[in-house]
């Protein structure tokens, strides 16, 4: 048991990987709760792609990847909050075009460097095992701001999610509230850059909260369960990836393993809920 659960984390790089996985798991779970309640999973997915040109330009100029991602993310968050006011435009199509254009721009920038495939993959999928102390500091700082935003605007964001008309009627500006959430999501995406990369962070934002929504009845409990699921998958995913690579000779990348654990958790919970519901129906019918 000790070999299975404790021994891996005696290594320095595994400790750092554990810390950052726990942080981004909780962050994704908490901010993701608002994403699911507002039903903006596609927007979250778009953001994970639109930060990419910022990362790519920072990479080429040898600047801070976090800064590049943050700038590109904030630009798209503002752009989207403004565009969603235009009634004639289909949000879905607009996001898809924004996603492919920004992402394409990132690839164009990176492709100017001759051997780009390896770099591209690191940028897209992160390297949780090479996380440094500075990365953890950056993640904590960015994530802290994101948590602060949703904590301050919690009541207003919840109202807007459940009763958009009521929220507007009470005088809250929808664009401002949307912008708050957009920025919080951007910060989480940027904070998770090193741990899971830009492409897989969508799983952290969507899957834990979707799982939590199935088994909870209030926003508060959904937040707690969602954060717990995110952290749980981080630890279990890291352990599976470690043991598979070291003990069984199958090199499983840590980031995708974490996401696969998340998906498996979702599938188990959704099946469980369906089974419980069916048996309850049967009991009611019999009684």
């Amino acid at each position: 048991m000790r070999d299975l659960l404790i021994a891996p984390f005696e290594l320095g790089f595994m400790q750092r990987a554990l810390v950052i996985s726990l942080i981004v798991g909780a962050l994704g779970g908490i901010v993701g709760t608002y994403v699911i309640l507002r039903r903006i999973a596609f927007f979250a997915d778009t953001l994970t792609h639109t930060v990419f040109p910022g990362v790519a330009i920072a990479f080429v100029l040898d600047g801070s990847l976090y800064l590049g991602a943050l700038v590109a993310g904030l630009v798209s968050a503002v752009l989207f909050a403004l565009m969603s006011r235009r009634q004639a435009l289909d949000d879905d199509a607009f996001m898809a075009i924004m996603l492919t254009t920004f992402f394409g721009l990132g690839v164009v920038v990176v492709s100017r460097i001759t051997t780009y495939t390896n770099d591209l993959v690191v940028l897209l999928f992160g390297r949780v095992l090479t996380v440094s102390r500075n990365d953890i500091v950056a993640t904590v700082a960015l994530g802290g701001v994101a948590l602060l935003i949703v904590a301050v605007a919690h009541k207003e964001l919840t109202l807007r999610a459940f009763d958009p008309e009521g929220s507007t009627a009470q005088g809250y500006r929808p664009v401002l509230l949307d912008l708050c959430l957009n920025i919080a999501v951007t910060l989480v995406v940027v904070a998770s850059l090193k741990a899971v990369g830009t492409v897989l962070v969508i799983a952290l934002l969507v899957t834990p909260a979707a799982t939590a929504k199935l088994v909870t009845g209030s926003v508060r409990s959904m937040l707690i369960v969602s954060a717990t699921v995110g952290m749980f998958a981080g630890v279990v995913g890291l352990l599976i990836s470690y043991h598979a690579s070291l003990d069984h000779g199958v090199s499983l990348a840590a980031g995708p393993t974490i996401v696969t654990v998340l998906t498996a958790t979702f599938v188990i919970v959704v099946t469980g809920v369906a089974v419980v519901r069916r048996s309850r129906q049967t009991i009611e019918l019999v009684a």
Binding site: I36, R39, I40, A41, F42, A44, D45, A88, L89, D90, D92, A93, F94, M95, A96, I97, M98, L99, T100, T101, F102, F103, G104, L105, G106, V107, V108, S111, R112, Y116, T117, N118, L120, V121, L124, F125, V199, L200, I202, A203, V206, T207, A210, K213, L214, V250, S251, L252, A253, G255, P256, T257, V259, T260, L262, T263, F266, V270, V273, A274
Partner: protein, 301 residues
């Protein structure tokens, strides 16, 4: 005036140079064909608000491609099977009360993609394969791939044309269509299958990113310019083909990744169209339409 003619001359020159090269000519033709098919099916994607589903389909078919490569079976078959699994999973999860369509789509997209990356990470040549899946390798299009795209795309276009009246009717007036005895689920399924068939054809040569760009972009641009679907149906394939070829020419001149350049070209075209059609010009091109409904079999209310 002189500057303009010299610019046009240089574009014609570079077009000629591309046409002379076997590889580039094939890439140009493939781009034009995929762009045109994208425009044809894109109208239905746009009317039924299936952009996110398209995105999810491209990601969820990824593990199928990887598995097929590992097992040594046909890649198209692998991605087709996983595409069907996704459609099935969306339909099943649509019945869970707590989950709305965008949530289930997001979960399946992320989960499917991660599974593909996970399978791939256990293989050698991880980085290279993954990049070509994402951004495609349109420059390595073979003659047989080109033929497959033309034939497959032709079949899809014919099927959509034959049922176009029913598909458009049910998109705009689902209640009326149902009252007249059309099966809404059947028509939705037809669009989804056509969508999946298109993606299965295009992803190997142009990648996921460009597939989404070509399926969503041209139709959305066309619908910015006109509210009449009749017109948009013919404009969209033309826009798709022209922008795709323009992207190839630009990427050749600027020495950038071809697929990504096409995606950016479409994005710029969209931004410019959005700017122009926000002005009174739009009013010359037709009146406003009613909002179409989203796809029905996935929704739970």
């Amino acid at each position: 005036m002189v500057a303009l003619t010299s610019v046009i001359a240089s574009i014609i020159d570079s077009f000629g140079a591309i046409w002379d090269s076997d590889i580039l000519r094939r890439a140009l033709l493939e781009a034009a064909v995929v762009g045109a098919i994208g425009g044809v099916i894109g109208i239905h994607i746009s009317l039924r608000k299936l952009s996110f589903t398209t995105m999810a389909l491209t990601h969820a078919t990824f593990p199928g491609v990887v598995l097929a490569a590992i097992l040594g079976v046909n890649l198209l078959a692998g991605s087709a099977v996983f595409g069907l699994l996704l459609v099935l999973a969306l339909a099943v999860l649509g019945r869970v009360r707590e989950l709305d369509t965008s949530t289930t789509t997001g979960v399946l997209l992320a989960g499917g993609f991660a599974l593909g990356v996970l399978l791939l990470s256990a293989q050698d040549g991880f980085a290279k394969d993954l990049t070509s899946f994402l951004v495609g390798s349109i420059l390595t299009t073979t003659n047989s791939e080109l033929v497959a795209t033309v034939v497959g795309g032709g079949v899809i276009a014919v099927v959509l044309a034959v049922f176009s009246k029913e598909l458009l009717y049910s998109a705009f007036d689902p209640v009326g269509a149902q009252a007249q005895g059309f099966s809404l689920g059947g028509l939705d399924l037809m669009v989804l299958l056509a969508l999946e068939a298109t993606l299965v054809l295009t992803i190997p040569s142009v990648g996921t990113l460009l597939s989404v760009a070509l399926l969503v972009g041209p139709a959305t641009i066309a619908r910015l310019w006109t509210d009449q679907i009749r017109l948009a149906r013919y404009i969209a394939p033309v826009i798709g083909a022209v922008f795709a070829m323009a992207g190839i020419v630009i990427s050749h001149a600027a020495d950038t990744a071809a697929g990504a350049t096409i995606a950016v070209t479409i994005g710029v075209g969209f931004a410019v169209s959005l700017g122009i059609t926000s002005t009174p010009v739009r009013k010359l091109l037709g009146q406003s339409h009613r909002d179409p409904r989203p796809v029905r079999i996935f929704t739970n209310r």
